[in-house]
Symmetry: C2
């Protein structure tokens, strides 16, 4: 069985492993694709991270994350632009498939979502030339509406794709099931995204009932209510057959277990709950 | 100053007051419109509740709530239909402006949101004749996407209005800012709803940052990030000038304060944070 189409987002084991330890633990179980966070890269230093990635032939399905464009004032905006350009440089150095963009929520003391969305669009347009010249696609990740105030004011695939249409080449979307599973327009917008090759990443986890924390209570695939296989089918039908990337923030459960066990269960659930029968399970 | 356009949803003081006590407390501060929950009516008995409403000339801006159509199996569906018909009867007896519909989430052990949505549409169509003959408009309340699994699989105004279009006369929407404030299509869908007189209720509270509980951490108007006056302006422009109804579930704050204090603060915030300058503040 091949795990070619499984990626582990390193947030899933962020409490257990450094970048290097996470890579070793993934490789030990046959996982060759990961998605690191910038703080994990910074902790080890970019050159060493690049060396680890290259020497082990690791696929980086995305670098987390750019964005946070709308959170500050004008000084904050300029700093955010600079930081996003550095993130693009890092993604390029790592050979990442994309830079995941969590665009930012309301500016401090503001209630003006429309203004925040305009700032985000302006910010994306500002960094796009740098992304294009470095061959790093920007993956706009629409976040669940419960994060509209404090994390991302782009909250549906339709909205993200409308912005992509305005921006042109070099941008697409990260489809994270946790954020979009509820959307009545999910199927139609996945088709729309696929038709113009805008699907850059497919993140998986599960929505628990009850959910005890807005941020840190994501579930392992199969433990919640998301119809993962059905969504995967739509994404594959729309033309994206890249990896499914497991991204689980779970302060009270998965972050407290041994990292090797978490990765092992990710693999088992990926194979039994997420992967499609028609997707190749073996290679060569 | 008139409080004609302020209604207190009795969930806001459900830990403090019985139905009768809540009515007295509202009247004592000049509030003459309320929205009770069915359990509060049942606790006192419908005839006595009707008597209190009539003798005090109280406006019932909505009865909470019908719905939960998709939660059970087929037996559960039949029981839900019966229960919704009883809710319509109660709303008619109380002279309520509408019956608020929280339609239900996923059936037990199901991950099929599309199927749930079909059951909901079927259920609404089934009870609609009874609602029409009793002159009780059904107000579909799109709930925030974070409740898609366990409370309501109708999660945007657009989706609710699409269902209204299918059903025809006798249905509309309850616009609760807590559920829809994040929606990039909020303005356009409010205009759409108003153009065909589908806005049946306008509920207010606030979105706190951080939100500590998915259900029971709603904020008082002005304490969060929702641009209440801007949304009110859109709703009034769209043709709805009915009451703003304060509905706050707050287990750790507002439910722990004296009910009179909560109502007093609702009034103050309504006047200073929600009401439009151009809306009449005084009468006669």
């Amino acid at each position: 069985m091949s795990l070619r189409n499984l990626s582990i987002n390193l947030a899933t084991v962020r409490q257990q492993f450094t970048f290097g330890e996470a890579v070793d633990a993934c490789l030990a179980q046959g996982v060759t694709a990961i998605a690191p966070w910038r703080d994990q890269i910074h902790a080890i230093g970019l050159p060493e991270a690049v060396e680890i990635v290259r020497s082990n032939n690791i696929r980086i399905t995305g670098l987390c994350r750019g964005g946070m464009l709308s959170t500050g004032n004008r000084v904050g905006f300029a700093a955010a632009i600079d930081d996003n350009k550095r993130a693009i440089d890092e993604a390029a150095a790592l050979g990442a498939d994309c830079l995941v963009m969590v665009v930012g929520g309301l500016p401090k003391d503001s209630r003006d979502l429309l203004a925040a969305r305009e700032i985000v669009a302006e910010g994306l347009a500002t960094i796009l030339p740098h992304a294009l010249s470095n061959h790093v696609p920007l993956a706009i990740e629409p976040l669940h509406p419960m994060y509209a105030a404090d994390r991302a004011c782009i909250n549906t695939l339709e909205q993200a794709l409308d912005i992509c249409d305005l921006l042109g080449d070099g941008v697409g979307v990260a489809v994270d099931v946790y954020h979009v599973w509820w959307d009545p327009k999910l199927s139609s917008q996945i088709i729309r995204a696929g038709a113009v090759n805008r699907i850059l990443a497919h993140h998986i986890c599960d929505w628990l009932v009850p959910t005890r924390d807005l941020l840190l209570d994501r579930g392992m695939m199969g433990d919640g209510v998301i119809d993962l296989r059905s969504i995967r089918k739509g994404i594959v039908s729309a033309g994206y057959s890249g990896p499914q990337e497991v991204e689980i923030f779970s302060s009270e459960n998965w972050w407290k277990r041994p990292g090797e066990e978490v990765i092992s269960i990710c693999i088992e659930r990926f194979l039994n709950t997420c992967n499609l029968p028609e997707e190749p399970l073996s290679e060569g």
